[in-house]
């Protein structure tokens, strides 16, 4: 039997409805998608990482905003509790399963990539697309530019 991809849009819709919400969530959709070619080889590129997990600190657990954290040493944990993930099926105890810093460090050692940015960025998942579009996305861009990032890897949990 062919495997069918999970429809998280339908599951989310049904979950909201079961909780008594009367208006379905409207997922973002666009007619066109931007595209930028790589300007230089991977071996000369600095890679930035962006995650939806928050710093596992007192402030990171309560303050929903863009956070930046040093890429080294790699954090031993990230705060994931508020995010939507399959809590009955897996866990987020191994940060490398969603925050690929160790893997990128290995690729840097091999010379496959130029370097890993000195910090990575946390961006909160927001019900409000306006918050993401008008506040968080520009903030992440500004920080990536400060970091002189050539390429960004984004990993939603």
């Amino acid at each position: 039997m062919a495997i069918k991809d999970v429809s998280y849009i339908i599951k989310t819709r049904d979950y909201y409805r079961a909780q008594g919400y009367t208006t379905d969530y409207l997922w973002a959709q666009f007619d066109t998608t931007p595209f930028t070619h790589l300007e230089k080889p991977l071996s000369e590129s600095r890679i930035g990482v962006i995650t939806t997990t928050m710093p596992d600190t007192e402030a990171g657990r309560v303050d929903r905003r863009v956070w930046s954290t040093a890429s080294a040493p790699i954090p031993r944990s990230m705060y994931t509790e508020e995010l939507s993930w399959h809590k009955s099926m897996t866990h987020t105890d191994d940060v490398a399963s969603f925050l690929p810093l160790a893997q990128l460090n290995s690729l840097q050692d091999e010379g496959v990539i130029g370097s890993v940015a000195s910090r990575f960025h946390s961006v909160p998942t927001e019900y409000s697309q306006r918050n993401t579009l008008e506040q968080d996305a520009p903030e992440v861009l500004a920080r990536c530019r400060q970091d002189e990032v050539d390429i960004a890897i984004l990993v939603p949990l």
Binding site: V6, T80, E82, T90, A96, A152, P156
Partner: protein, 129 residues
């Protein structure tokens, strides 16, 4: 996260998204997407499986180099395991959970009303508990 990828790309930073919610990402549209067909939570590979985690990042790098146009989607070669029950298990709604979910929704709306009164303008998506 797709919105952030689009914003970075629009402003000259090439991106790749690695995730496990194919329909959500494709609905929005991103420049490059690597799909891990896993339960939500470990898009970079199974916990503590360093070999798999390494391969997935290599594939993401390869996708960065090979993609020639927007909305390029690739899949990792890995599966979660032979047991596919996780697909139906996530956010399952049945007669046993319906009343609990209704009560959760009521509590959440009360909290949202309180947050608004307190000037908190940010809220997460509802998450499975």
């Amino acid at each position: 996260m797709s919105l952030v990828a689009r914003h970075l790309e629009t402003n000259g930073i090439p991106t790749v998204v690695i995730g496990s919610a194919l329909d959500v990402v494709e609905h929005c549209g991103v420049p490059r997407y690597l799909h891990s067909d896993f339960p939500l939570g470990n898009p970079c590979g199974k916990p503590y499986d360093k070999a798999m985690q390494g391969e997935i990042i290599r594939q993401a790098m390869s996708l960065l180099e090979s993609a020639e146009a927007a909305n390029t989607v690739a899949r990792t070669p890995f599966t979660w395991g032979e047991d596919c029950n996780w697909r139906d298990d996530y956010a399952r709604i049945d007669n046993n959970s319906r009343e609990a979910l209704r009560l959760q929704g009521e509590a959440r709306r009360q909290q949202q009303t309180q947050d608004k009164a307190d000037g908190k303008l940010r809220a997460a998506m509802v998450s499975e508990t």
